[in-house]
């Protein structure tokens, strides 16, 4: 006979320490909330791990932690962000993302209704990206030991034969392409964190880029040297990283870099530079000059790349500087950020 189980009171209930204890309450949380949100044949088997078929080609694997505050922001929440971020890390290798794992560290007192919303948007994001969340873990910590909820993920994908994207492939003269406007995610988060009421609501760009990447690879093939998603540290960090790894420098044109007016205005107000602000649905591609036009056209034809732009080129530079011709006519470096970008006072 099946033991009597009370259903999770999703509307009014909250997570308590028993939901992480490994007992019945935890099983109930997992099956009642996560499984229904992620629903797939692997999870349904209820094992501690999932076996899956390995496709031909090279596998890629990645792992990431999500500690964003606030958990809900315009354009998404920590759940959809965790899926998009992990999918994008895989996609940047030119790979097709296949499977994800998700581990939750939940603070005691976290509302079921919020957890459900987060899990459901993860499930939705995963389905949209064609990936399956096939294994996971749940831990509950005492109040005050986690900022509501942390999620960590791992993901695997497969790179088609013959494709090998890597920074050392970049050459002098390569073009720098970006897939759209900069800073949307970081400003969306900050606007909520600081309760700054901007006239136009700025929405996070959080999105899975695997489809855009697949089309770019078809259009550019070997001409695409590498791709990177400019998340924390923004475009500035991404380009500096690539410069170091490739042994080159970059020269970009400020005028060519797309930034939404609302994002630019918010940055101005907070004393931030959009080049350093995080993105969650954008990519930078370093592309051979002869392939650049075709790749750019392909990007622009895709809904996630409609604002794509060619913003500059790789140059020979022993110091690996990222230099920028300012829209005003002068020059400057776009350096690594030192510490966190903090708003100025005067």
């Amino acid at each position: 006979m099946k033991a009597h189980q009370r259903k999770l009171d999703i509307k009014n209930g909250c997570v308590d320490l028993s939901h992480g204890s490994g007992g019945r309450a935890m099983a109930q949380l997992i099956s009642g909330l996560f499984h229904s949100a992620f629903g797939n044949e692997w999870l349904a088997r209820g094992n501690d791990q999932s076996a899956f078929d390995v496709a031909a080609g090279r596998m890629v694997m990645t792992t990431d932690g999500y500690v964003v505050s606030p958990l809900f922001f315009p354009g998404g929440n920590i759940g959809s962000l965790a899926v998009h971020g992990t999918v994008n890390d895989i996609a940047m290798a030119g790979a097709r993302p296949l499977y994800l794992s998700a581990s939750f560290i939940i603070e005691e007192g976290f509302r079921f209704s919020d957890l459900k919303m987060i899990a459901e948007s993860m499930g939705e994001a995963a389905r949209a990206a064609g990936v399956h969340i096939i294994t996971g873990d749940t831990k509950v910590v005492e109040r005050g030991k986690a900022d509501g909820l942390f999620i960590s993920t791992a993901g695997v994908g497969v790179v088609p034969d013959g494709l090998d994207l890597s920074a050392e492939k970049a050459r002098v003269g390569d073009r720098v392409l970006i897939s759209g406007t900069l800073g949307d995610h970081g400003v969306a988060i900050m606007s909520k964190r600081q309760n700054l009421a901007f006239e136009t609501e700025i929405v996070s760009d959080s999105a899975s880029l695997h489809d855009l990447v697949a089309k770019m690879v078809t259009a550019g093939g070997e001409g695409i040297r590498l791709m990177r998603d400019p998340t924390r540290g923004g475009l500035a960090a991404a380009l500096n990283e690539i410069a170091q790894q490739s042994g080159l420098g970059f020269r970009v044109q400020e005028e060519a870099i797309p930034v939404k007016p609302g994002v630019a205005a918010a940055c101005e107000l907070l004393g931030l530079d959009p080049l350093y602000v995080a993105n969650e649905g954008k990519l930078v591609a370093i592309v051979a000059p002869e392939a650049a036009a075709a790749v750019l056209a392909t990007m622009r034809a895709h809904p996630l790349g409609c604002d794509a732009a060619d913003i500059g080129e790789a140059v020979a530079d022993d110091h690996h500087f990222v230099q920028m011709a300012t829209s005003f006519g002068g020059g400057r470096i776009v350096d690594w950020l030192s510490g966190e970008q903090l708003p100025r006072i005067c």
Binding site: V259, P261, D273, G329, S338, L342, P343, I345, C346
Partner: protein, 380 residues
């Protein structure tokens, strides 16, 4: 990138650059100091140096209130913040400023001090209302621009009868510092200061007006042009300074007339003088003790003065002897002339005031301009 377009128009900028080029006499140097970090930032951020002829050189002055705050005041703040009954409210950019021995508010926070980053004085008041059982101290800092909001906050605290609120006052005044740059006794050690004019601060002048600078123009024979922070403002101000130099004039001119009046904002000035009074001395990082350059709360408001309320001891910390900030702030040396530049002293590990905030001369050169050093080396 498109924003504040009308102040960043490339064509107008080129027109101004051409005018400066053709009007500046190639036979003479033009050395202009921008006093304010906002200007230093704009010069570096938009690469304005590239648009000026070689003999027109910008000297980066004391910069911003954060850079000039001495390590001793940061140490005092940290001591205060570490007291368990206190919630210490600060603006974000102060968090990383080094006190003595690499201490900072950011590190104190990591060790458990209850330090909260705030975005306005109102946030600090709200925290005070929400936490009646704790003591809330606001780290007040800034030039003349940010003093009126602090004054208003004290008025509000009074009105709300908040018994748990006080201010650690570090407000400083720009004209005494400008005077110090031109005539302090240090000049004997550092060398003669070659400054042919000042770009005067915009936001400060919206409060105090242009009148306080007339003294410099007359007494020191230095032209002053009050300028906005947009790059076009700067270019226009530089052109105005070149013209004054060519015509042997030394007047206060107002490029920023869209916001600055000769007498400034009378109400704000009154509010400030009701609540604050001059300190005899205040230490500036890089400049040392500058007479009558800082503000403190008047005795009548002592209960809102954290220094009085918590019996804070004045702490002094000597600047690193190798640091050339004093000479750089006065325009005698450039950042690359300092042995510590880019080696020991970087934005991650700032030693002197010029590296502390992104608006300091050394930080601005490191972050935005150091490619020029390599270009020059290659060219020579």
């Amino acid at each position: 990138m498109k924003y504040a377009d009308e102040f960043r128009d490339k064509e107008i900028a080129l027109g101004l650059a051409n005018a400066i080029q053709s009007e500046a006499d190639p036979q003479r140097p033009y050395r202009f100091m921008e006093f304010c970090g906002g200007h230093t930032h704009a010069i570096s951020r938009y690469g304005l140096e590239d648009m000026l002829p070689k003999n027109v050189r910008m000297i980066h002055g004391p910069g911003c209130p954060v850079c000039v705050l001495p390590a001793g005041r940061i140490d005092m703040a940290i001591r205060l913040a570490e007291r368990p009954e206190i919630i210490f409210c600060v603006y974000g950019d102060l968090m990383r400023v080094p006190g003595s021995q690499g201490a900072s508010l950011l590190k104190a926070k990591a060790k458990g001090a209850d330090i909260r980053m705030v975005y306005s004085t109102i946030d600090a008041l709200r925290i005070a209302e929400e936490n009646p059982q704790r003591q809330i101290v606001f780290f007040a800092i800034g030039f003349e621009t940010t003093t009126p909001p602090t004054a208003v906050m004290i008025r509000l605290a009074e009105k709300k009868q908040l018994a748990n609120f006080s201010v650690f006052c570090n407000h400083v005044l720009t004209p005494p510092a400008m005077q110090n740059i031109l005539e302090s006794p240090d000049i004997r050690n550092i060398g003669r200061v070659e400054i042919d004019g000042f770009v005067g601060p915009a936001h400060v002048s919206t409060i105090i007006g242009t009148a306080p600078y007339e003294f410099f123009a007359e007494e020191f024979g230095k032209p002053v042009v009050i300028s906005g922070f947009e790059p076009l403002d700067m270019m226009q101000a530089i052109l105005m300074l070149v013209r004054q130099g060519n015509e042997n004039r030394h007047e206060v001119e107002n490029q920023y007339s869209r916001a600055v009046k000769r007498d400034g904002n009378l109400r704000a000035k009154e509010e400030v003088s009701d609540i604050f009074e001059l300190r005899d001395q205040f230490e500036w990082r890089g400049l040392g003790q500058v007479p009558y350059s800082g503000l403190k709360l008047k005795r009548a408001f002592a209960k809102y003065d954290a220094e009085a309320r918590f019996d804070m001891k004045e702490l002094r910390v000597a600047d690193n002897p190798a640091c050339e900030c004093g000479a750089i702030l006065r325009g005698v040396k450039k950042p690359v002339d300092c042995k510590l530049f880019g080696t020991v002293c970087t934005p991650e590990t700032p030693i002197g005031s010029c590296m502390v905030s992104s608006e300091g001369a050394c930080a601005a050169h490191w972050t935005y301009g150091r490619f020029r050093d390599h270009q020059q080396r290659r060219a020579s």
